[in-house]
Amino acid sequence: MSLGVSIAALMRASLLTTMRYRASFVGEAVMAVAWAAWTTAPLFVVFDQAPTLAGWTADEALAVVGFFIIAQGVLEALVDPNLRAVVEHVRQGTFDFVLLKPLDAQLYVSLHRTEPLKLVHCLVGIGVVGYAADAVNAGPVELLSATLLMLAGLTLLHSLWTVVVSSAFFFVKVDNLSWLIRAGLDAGRWPVSLYRGLVRFVLTFVLPIGLVTTYPALALRGELKPSTGLGAMVIAVIFAGVARIAWTQSLRRYSSASS
C-alpha cells in the first residue's frame, strides 16, 4: 500500500465525519470571519496611533495577521486535534491499536482526527493575506517565496507539537501544556521585529512563531534575503528531523497498556 493511498484514506475518513454535520459549516464560516475581525482589531488601534512601527506599515502588518490566521487554522484543523488525541490514547491504553496498524504510527496519528471544517479559517486568512499582498504590490516571485516560507513555518509548528506530544509517553498529562504553548504563539500576530531582546530570540528560535508569520510577510514585501529564507527552510527541516527522533525515541520507551 503506497503512502498516497493511506493519506487519501485518512483524509477521506475525516471528511466523511465532518459531512455528517453539514449545518455547522455555516456557523464555522461566520465564526471564522468574526474571529479574523477580532484578531485584526488591535492592529487597527495601534496603527491609528503610529503610521509605521519598526518599519512596518498597517498593510504589511496585516499580512502578518493573515499568516497568523492561516497558522491558527492549520493548528486547529490538522495539528492540535490529531496530536491531542495521542495524549488520550496513551492515557486510555488504546495507543496499542495505533501501533498494531501496518502504517507508520507518526503519519497515522498526524492525520487520523483531522477537522477539515476548521480549514475555513485558512480560507479567511488567505483572503487577508491576499488583500495585504495586493496592497504591497507583491509579484509572483514574492508570492511563491511567501508560500514556501509559510509551508516551512507550518512544518515547524507540527514538529513542535510532535515533540510536546512525545513527552506524553513520559508525563501522560500534557494537554494543558498545549494551551500554554498556544498562549505563547499568540505573540505571532505581531511582526517579530517589534519585540526586543530575549522575547524576540524566544519567538524566533524556541517557540518559532516568528518564522511562521513574520518571515512569509517579509517575503511578501520582497525584503527577505534569500539566505535568510533558505536558512528558515533548513531550520524547518532540522526541526522535523528532531521531532522524528523525539517521536521514535519516545515510542521505544512506551511500555504498552497490557504489558
Binding site: V45, V46, D186
Partner: protein
C-alpha cells in the same frame, strides 16, 4: 451560611495548592497584556502619545495583568460542568447556596495566584523601572473599591452564562463570544484612552470597561478626580444590573433543572 465561609476558604486554598501546577498554567495562559505591553512600548518609543510614555504603558499593562488576575473567575466552566453532569444536584441539597461555595472557591485561589504572578511583576519592574509612580491615596483607595466592583460584575457575568447551561447546550459558546467582545472593549488588549474617539465613546456605554479599565486607570493614577466618580458610579450601576440578571437566570434555571436525582 456565613459561619461556613472560613472553612470554605480553607478548602478552596487547599484545592488550589493541590492543583498548583495547573494553576500556574492557567495564570500563564492569561498573559495577553504582556504581549500588548511590548507592542505599545514600541509605539511610545518615539515619544509619548497623549501623555502616555513608555512608563505609563508599562504601568497600565502591569496593572491590567494584576487586576485581570485578582478579578478573574472561572465559575462559568464549573457551573456548566456541574449542570451537565448532574453534580449540581447534591450541591442544591446543602443548606448553603451553591453560589456561596463558588464565591469562596474563587476568592481562596487568589493568594496563590498572587504568588505565581510575583516573579512576572518583578521581571517587569526590572525591565522598565520608569513605570513606578507616586500614587495619590485617593486613587489607590477608589481603585481598590473599583476592583471589588469589577470582580462582582465579572463573577455575575459568568454566573449568567453558566446558568444558561440550564437552558442551552451552547452556553459556553455564548460565553466565548462575550469573552471576545470583553477582551476588545475592556482595555485588556489596548488602553481604551488610545482607541479611536468613536470607539471610545461607544465603549463608555458598554459594561466591559467597568470590569477592567476603570480599576486599572484609577490605580495607575491616569484618571482625573471628576471623571473617576462617574466611572465608579457606572460600575455600581452595572454591578446591580449584572447581579440582578445573574439572580434571575439562576432562579429560572434551577426551577426547570431536571438532572438525575433532582
Amino acid at each position: 451560611m456565613f459561619r461556613a465561609f472560613p472553612t470554605l476558604l480553607r478548602i478552596g486554598l487547599a484545592e488550589a495548592v493541590a492543583y498548583r501546577a495547573e494553576l500556574v498554567i492557567w495564570v500563564l495562559t492569561a498573559t495577553a497584556p504582556l504581549i500588548s505591553m511590548f507592542i505599545w512600548d514600541r509605539v511610545a518609543e518615539e515619544g509619548p502619545l497623549g501623555g502616555w510614555g513608555q512608563g505609563e504603558m508599562a504601568r497600565y499593562f502591569l496593572l491590567a495583568l494584576i487586576v485581570r488576575h485578582i478579578t478573574s473567575a472561572w465559575v462559568v466552566w464549573e457551573l456548566n460542568e456541574n449542570i451537565r453532569t448532574g453534580s449540581l444536584s447534591p450541591m442544591l441539597l446543602r443548606p448553603m447556596h451553591p453560589l456561596v461555595f463558588f464565591v469562596a472557591q474563587n476568592l481562596s485561589a487568589m493568594p496563590l495566584r498572587a504568588v505565581i504572578l510575583a516573579p512576572l511583576i518583578v521581571g517587569i519592574l526590572w525591565w522598565r523601572p520608569e513605570l513606578l509612580w507616586t500614587p495619590e491615596p485617593w486613587t489607590i483607595a477608589l481603585g481598590l473599591v473599583s476592583a471589588v466592583f469589577a470582580w462582582a460584575i465579572a463573577f455575575a457575568a459568568q454566573v449568567i452564562f453558566g446558568s444558561l447551561a440550564f437552558f442551552s447546550q451552547q452556553s459556553l459558546g455564548l460565553f466565548n463570544v462575550y469573552f471576545g467582545l470583553w477582551s476588545l472593549g475592556s482595555g485588556y488588549l489596548f488602553p481604551l484612552e488610545l482607541a479611536p474617539e468613536w470607539l471610545r465613546q461607544v465603549l463608555l456605554w458598554l459594561p466591559f470597561r467597568a470590569t477592567l479599565a476603570t480599576p486599572v486607570e484609577l490605580l495607575a493614577g491616569l484618571v482625573a478626580w471628576e471623571d473617576a466618580l462617574g466611572l465608579v458610579a457606572a460600575q455600581v450601576v452595572w454591578a446591580v444590573v449584572f447581579v440582578g440578571l445573574a439572580a434571575m437566570t439562576w432562579n429560572l434555571g434551577v426551577k426547570r433543572h431536571e438532572a438525575v436525582g433532582a
